[in-house]
Amino acid sequence: MPSQLTDELQQRFGFQQFRPGQAEILTALLAGRDAIAVLPTGSGKSLLYQFVAPHLTGLILVVSPLISLMSDQAMRIRTAHIGSVAVLNSQLTPVEKNQILRRLSQYKFLFVAPETLQQPQVQQAIQRVQLALFVVDEAHCISSWGPDFRPSYLLLGQVRQQLKPALTLALTATATPKVFRDIQHELMLPAQTAHYRASVNRSNLFLRLERISHADDKQVRLQALIDLGVPTLIYVATRHQAQALAQYLQLKTNRQVAYYHGGLSGIERYRIQQLFLQDQLGIVVATNAFGMGIDKSNLRLVIHYDLPANFENYLQEIGRAGRDGQLALTVIFVDETDFAKQGQRIKNGQLTTIEIQNFFAHPDDRQELNDSQLGVLAAYAQTQLPVAQVTAILQQTSQLRAQQRQAFWQFLNSRTCLRQQLCDYFDAKPPEIHHDQWCCSQSEDESLSALLQRLPLVETAAADQAPLQSVATVLTALFD
């Protein structure tokens, strides 16, 4: 069977061999077993459902949390001519949505946001066609232990029971053993569900921990890092910080810098991604909005200028470096002041029981809540869970977040091998790491300048970004 699968992979997709875990999961699905796959970001999770498409009769329904992810995946399927695709999300008008639902039997793939899938009209339309495969992408969103917990994912188990798909596939890049168990439990998957859990270890990533004692330290060390001249992604905590740091860096370097966050228009975000992918931008300073669906293979340096909220975000964000398999450096700045500020931000964002109850009683009353808090409550309101249950979930997640944050802080303050700790935290069967000079280091053990001298990071020639062009020049570039 595996050799047949490999032949098919070569013929249909042009890849010589499967990435770890792909063949195991495909074999299980083709044998009629449900599956959960925990595979690292960029390891070809979407290939799994694309691969099985011609082997299954009926619709492949993919639940995905982000509009940009759905569009990206749908485009890939269309351009590779794997099958007809439709995308259902909140951006469609009712007429457009009805059009898709009426013609559902003509599609092979349907991408849908979890909130949209709750709508009776959508479920009824899916029930009228044969459902071959129910795919839950970013399945860790189902677990309140996961950092991206999304209330509407909680109802997917129930939806799955109603839709009765022939097969179910849950996909994620980050799942601790606890999150993994939650995925299986919440989706109500049978005990014999196949699973594959890749280790989170990426040997081409050098992990560096940079302890900061003065505010100026960050800027000095940042300067040394950006002087490397390699494609760089810098993560910060807030939109304001992204903008401010990008402006600061623009004064300190000749390289082109841009900031990226969820508040930018779709067109601006697209343009930044494109310029970064084409090496026309050297440095992007971003919030965690820069992530899913963006695959820049030659990213050599990821810096956490501010602390990520937890282990999961850290792992996902460093995982964007070195997708081409070449050595990449990841640096995290550890500053107690940042930790305290982060705690304050979390505290400010927490919802009280009274605020939750008031929201459900009077949804139009903003009660001095910020947009992010209102967004969370609106998402819960859509699930139609009783207010007592919502309050309990929110309280529980808030406690979990605090525990997870504490665990991450312990990691940042430990003196043992960082890679081993990451594996111990995420892997069900953590490998024993043979720590060497290509593994990880901390600022107490080795200076940053010494490290940068010895790490052979591959340089990329970054083009200067063009100045303002005349109308004639632009039109010539566009059309001649």
């Binding site: 509009i67 940009s68 569009s71 990206d72 485009m75 351009t79 995308v87 951006q91 469609l92 008008t93 457009e96 990008a246 623009q250 082109q256 841009a258 900031y259 228009s265 779709g266 067109i267 601006e268 697209y270 343009r271 930044i272 494109q274 310029l275 084409q278 026309q280 931008l281 903003r366 910020n370 947009d371 970004q465 063009a466 100045p467 303002l468 062009q469 005349s470 109308v471 004639a472 632009v474 039109l475 570039a477 566009l478 059309f479």
Partner: protein, 322 residues
């Protein structure tokens, strides 16, 4: 939006700040529209569809703290102080607003912007035989429109599109033409990020965006004046047939066709007050609104002291004579 720019929406007489907020956001109630019309801000309707109320309020507080705005919480109004008026004038803040773009004539600027940029991307990529690329916008509506536009013109020579674009951009003020051209993007021309464009122009990204909207407005004005000269661009950037939403436009057409109030009410099966709001919207947004129409006169006579008669009188610029 920067707080200072917001100052340009206020005046030395008190203005209802909530009406300004909801107007910029794009809530088309009669009350908001009347206020915007009175303040001379009607064309800026829907300029900031994602404006957050908390941020808007925070900006008002900032302007108050700077001594430029006086806020009356009870009346929910804000007034420019003398210092605010001086600052507004000295910084020429009003000039930054997109005077050339009128929502009621040109529609949602975001849609028009996406249509223009996606149209250029699609034609440019086709020109260079690039088939696999990510469209500049994720909007399903705009993508569908572009498909239809592409199919309609598929037999035409696409160099015509370049000629139209080149001609129209050269007819705009130089700065507007250059700004629009440098906002384009395709695989053969990656373009510049707004951040970089703003940096080159020594502006904030907010001011840059307003300049882009204004330049788009200037381009649409050209299309509106001589549509036959730009067939491809005119069909890429369609202008709304009426400033009114569909249902309100229908009520207004019934009025124009000479139907009595009773006939309109019986045919539409909508609440009478809603139908009256439709007519008020038409009176606000359509310069040729027939104030002397018998049905309008009849409605005003029925309840001379009522909301409808009062607003009609206000819009006519005088009291209603019963």
């Amino acid at each position: 939006m920067a707080a200072e720019l917001l100052l340009a929406t206020f005046a030395a007489t008190p203005r209802r700040y909530k009406a300004i907020f909801y107007g910029l956001l794009g809530k088309d109630t009669v009350s908001n529209l009347l206020a915007l019309r009175e303040y001379g801000l009607l064309s800026y309707f829907h300029l900031y569809p994602k404006l957050s109320q908390s941020k808007f309020q925070a900006q008002l507080v900032k302007l108050q703290q700077a001594g430029w705005l006086q806020i009356d919480q009870t009346a929910a109004t804000a007034t420019l102080t003398t210092a605010g008026a001086q600052f507004l004038q000295a910084q020429q803040l009003t000039d930054y607003w997109p005077h050339a773009y009128d929502y009621w004539q040109f529609g949602d600027w975001q849609l028009q912007w996406q249509r223009l940029l996606l149209g250029v991307q699609v034609v440019s990529n086709r020109w260079h035989q690039v088939q696999q690329y990510q469209p500049l916008t994720e909007s399903f509506q705009v993508q569908q429109e572009l498909h239809a536009w592409w199919r309609y013109w598929s037999q035409q020579d696409w160099s015509q599109f370049k000629i139209e674009l080149q001609t129209i951009l050269s007819q705009l003020p130089e700065s507007a033409g250059i700004l629009l051209a440098n906002s384009f993007s395709s695989n053969s021309f990656p373009g510049l990020t707004s951040q970089h464009l703003a940096q080159i122009q020594q502006q904030s990204t907010t001011v840059l965006q307003l300049a882009q909207i204004n330049s788009l407005g200037l381009l649409l004005q050209q299309l509106q004046q001589t549509p036959q000269q730009w067939p491809m661009l005119t069909s890429l950037l369609p202008l709304p047939k009426s400033p009114l939403p569909r249902s309100a436009a229908q009520t207004y057409q019934q009025l124009l066709s000479g139907q009595t109030w009773l006939q309109i009410v019986q045919q539409r099966r909508i609440k009478e007050n809603t139908l009256k709001e439709h007519l008020l919207m038409a009176a606000i947004l359509i310069p040729t609104f027939p104030f002397q129409n018998p049905t309008i006169q009849q409605l005003c006579h029925q309840d001379p002291a009522g909301f409808f008669a009062g607003r009609i009188a206000q819009l006519q610029g005088g009291a209603f004579n019963a």
